[in-house]
Amino acid sequence: MDDAPLEDALRAAQAGQAWAARVLYEELSPRVLGYLRAKGAAEPEDLTSEVFLTVFGRIGTVTGGMAGLRTFAFSVAHARLVDEYRRRARRQPATEYAPESDPRTSTAAEDDGLVAVQTARVRALLDTLASDQRDVLVLRILGDLSVEQVAEVLGTSEGAVKQRQRRGLLALRKRLERAGITTIEGVTL
């Protein structure tokens, strides 16, 4: 993807241009929202707005162009998600995730239903992974981040990221084969 127009928008946003901030929000927020949904945020839309309030509040400090901005946005999203997990852990004891009892599968107003169900099924699959493998796969696939960017977001090495994504995919394949899952809500696997 050609990032040249986005690089211009980033420079303009750093100079305080409102149109540039909207361009960047349109570009980055869907992936951040998908990441937060896949990771099980309670209110992913609200959390996405909070993430971008932080990102635009400190956009002047961002270096490295659009790649740096992507890394920064997902770093903020990851940190907010960790905060939410901690808040939840303090409020109530953790319970096993059950896709059939997830109200978002039937009440998600922003989705056409199929996406919500797919989200729940994918989340159920991802929950079988170790947390570090899940983080890497979600950031790589939904965040569209490179190995280097994922390593920076998670504060680990590139070698560890490569190893986790490979082991995560192997674990997913094994899980699919054992459960005999060949489709996810209409999508043939």
């Binding site: 992913p44 707005s49 309030l53 509040g57 270096t63 797919q118 939904l142 490569k162 699919l176």
Partner: protein
Amino acid sequence: MSPSNDDRTVKRRRVLSSRTADRLVQGREVPDQPELTQLVAVMSALVPDSAPVPSERLARLLEQGPPVKPNALVPRIGVTRSSRPLRRLSLAGTAFAGLVLALASTNALPAPAQQVVSDVVEWVSPVEIPDGDDQPDPAPTRTREPAPRVVPTEAATPSPYGTPGPEESPDDDVTPEPADDGVSGEEPAEDPSEEPTDEPSDEFTEEPTDDPSEDDASEPYAPQSSYELSISPRR
């Protein structure tokens, strides 16, 4: 017996290299891994096509534009270039101060510098560093040999420090000097016209503290009352 094509296919599917995993997560199709290719496609489809509706605060920010701070564009990572000379200068100063202190602690500086460093260190800290006057004198002016002494009379000269004063001359005709002048008590004054001074000399200030046990052994402490009794006939 060579393995069949099916066996080779199954074996290839079992293996998942790092490069293949990289291709999969990038959304590329990998024929040997149809399940994972499809799973990644389903996961990628979870990204919505349009941006979510922003909250009120974010919508206001998107209308007004991000805040611009004057120095926001300057990355502040690590030590800035302009502060490096100052840092070097401070490091050099610290090293120099350490060297001076090390030399001063061994009394290796010239006397004036040693005195200055000693004063400064003793002023800012309880640590004592020898000053220039503490250097050993190669030709001592005063020997440690005790002068011939007589048995002290009761007329011991009171010491301002509460210790026994210098010995009194055996010559009774000699007027006892004030206790402040420790030298004059041992030897007759060579110049009678010289006025006794109240300022303690170096010999006096050092003698009682050099070896008090010596004086204690030869001269018992004379209390103030005995002094008054001994000089009363002179009046």
